[in-house]
Amino acid sequence: MSLNTLLILNIRWIIRDRILQALAAVSLFLIMLVPAISAFSMRQTQELAVTLSLSFVSFTLLIFALSLGSTIVWRDIERRYTYTVLSLPLDRGGYVMAKFLAVALFLVVAAALVGSCSFIAIFISSFKYPSQIPVQWGMIMIAIFMDTLKYMLLAAIAILVTTVSTSFFMPFFTSIAIFMAGSASQEVFEFATSEAGTRVSGVVRLATRVIYYIIPNFSAFNFKLQAVYPIPFDPKQISYVTLYFLVYTALTLSAAVWIFSRRELT
């Protein structure tokens, strides 16, 4: 009941945010430029259109996840809304969960919208410059879906960081740092555990291992290559990554709720 109320409140807030409205409009406009840009490549136009579209969807979701995740709790504290909201008979756990759910829901809607536009863009490109390979519509959808999960997880992490911080910049840049480390961690980990890696000092290798296990492995969510080229892959991977997403997000949100419930709202 109260979760529902808070969820509606936060969705209203997001929808009425002028800056987000502008960002959404710009991204929808830019994605329609994909067919024109792809045409410049002269060859593999369709493949390029798919790559571009997916990167574009990914980038849009990244911007939304970071900007919303690192501000949605912070703005309440910064503008002293917390006094009026958290003095209502609502518990803080529900408050944090509603924040996350609102961002997650917005990411789903944004992915669906920008994703649909990218479908149109890809369709136009492939129609004008057909390739030998048919367009992997199903895989493109899966790639966008996994991307959405990835950015939901990033938003959860950003919310966790804001529950301990009072400034805007700290959570924002910490989330970016975690995202970059988590996106690169697979390669760094593989290097550190490989033959070549033995030349690096033991401490660095241990640190890499620790970071690898703590920081979420964002590269696991990347299915872009399979969406562009018909590369065979194990469908079980999708369930593994989804499960990984669920567990990691649940842990992150539990930590955020635990910390925020003890936070002093001075």
């Binding site: 009941m1 109260s2 109320t5 409140l9 006094y83 009026t84 003095s87 209502l88 709202l265």
Partner: protein, 306 residues
């Protein structure tokens, strides 16, 4: 018996950067009775908002405990029967006044019908009906304050905790707030409000607690304070002999009229003396310390002892 507010040995120490500590509240104990209007009076930085934030579960006490209607303030359920107005409230500015009240009503589990009906009533009461469908972003400071008050009234709770409810309001707004507090009292509701203005306390309160430097310095009914504040009387005499010779202080003389300042405990003797000297009492006025002097004195004592 459970009180609307029970505060037991409450203490709060803020820990800032560089191991800086502020003892904002020390050993505060206080019970607020059902149906009373209680003024929590203290200068800036006394610890009023700190106390109220602990009551509303926004910050945690360093020591001691507090309950609202018997429920520990840490639990969200303690706030179910409370209307709270923060100091200089900030309300979601992307909502309209009516939308905001509707959000608050839902948080208090009111039905849609009750929300619609009560919103209309409280908006009218706080003269916000015309602005009800405008975003709060466009409200003036006083309007936000009034919407904050409307929020406290919306679900008709038994207890009202108001942090400086009169601040930021013009004289009309202030008198409106006083009227609302009096009305709540008539309905048997309990009101606990903080202020640094003694006149506000004198106007509406049954009881007052004076807080300074995080300590409760005085706790009494407003009537008692005003009565005990009587220092003496100024008496105008027509005729009579040389009263000054008996040690009474003469303030003025005009024609046959003389005015004396008589301490409270010498009043009977003085009147007797006037009768002996064949004088005639024309006018007696009570000379009393008002609440303001009482307050200033207590705060000064607090500063010396602290």
């Amino acid at each position: 018996m459970t009180f609307p507010i029970e505060i037991e040995s409450l203490a709060k120490t803020y820990r800032g950067k560089k191991r800086m500590q502020v003892e904002a509240l020390r050993e505060l104990s206080l019970n607020i009775n059902q149906g009373e209007v209680f003024g929590f009076l203290g200068p800036n930085g006394a610890g009023k908002s700190t106390t109220i934030k602990i009551l509303m579960g926004l910050i945690s006490a360093t020591a001691g405990s507090a309950r609202l209607f018997g429920t520990e303030v840490r639990q969200a359920a303690a706030r179910r029967n409370v209307g709270y107005l923060p100091e200089n409230p900030a309300l979601y500015d992307f909502l309209t006044g009516r939308e905001y009240l509707s959000f608050v009503g839902k948080a208090f589990a009111m039905t849609d019908g009750a929300i619609a009906e009560r919103s209309g009533v409280v908006l009218e009461q706080l003269q916000l009906t015309d602005a009800a469908n405008r975003p709060v972003r466009s409200y003036s400071k006083g309007m936000v304050q009034r919407l904050g008050l409307a929020q406290t009234l919306l679900h008709e709770p038994e207890l009202y905790i108001l942090d400086e409810p009169m601040s930021g309001l013009d004289p009309i707004g202030r008198s409106l707030v006083k009227d609302i507090i009096r009305q709540l009292k008539r309905q048997g509701k309990t009101v606990f409000f903080s202020t640094h203005i003694t006149a506000d306390v004198e106007a509406v309160c049954d009881r007052v607690g004076v807080i300074a430097k995080g300590k409760l310095q005085a706790l009494d009914s407003v009537d008692n304070i005003l009565r005990s504040g009587v220092e003496g009387y100024t008496v105008q005499i027509n005729g009579g002999g040389d009263l000054a010779a008996h040690g009474y202080t003469q303030l003025e003389e005009q024609g046959g009229m003389r005015e004396f300042l008589v301490p409270k405990d010498q009043f009977n003797d003085f009147i007797a003396q006037v009768a002996v000297e064949d004088g005639k009492v024309e006018l007696i006025e009570t000379k009393r310390k008002d609440l303001e002097e009482f307050f200033l004195e207590i705060v000064k004592q607090g500063n010396v002892s602290a």
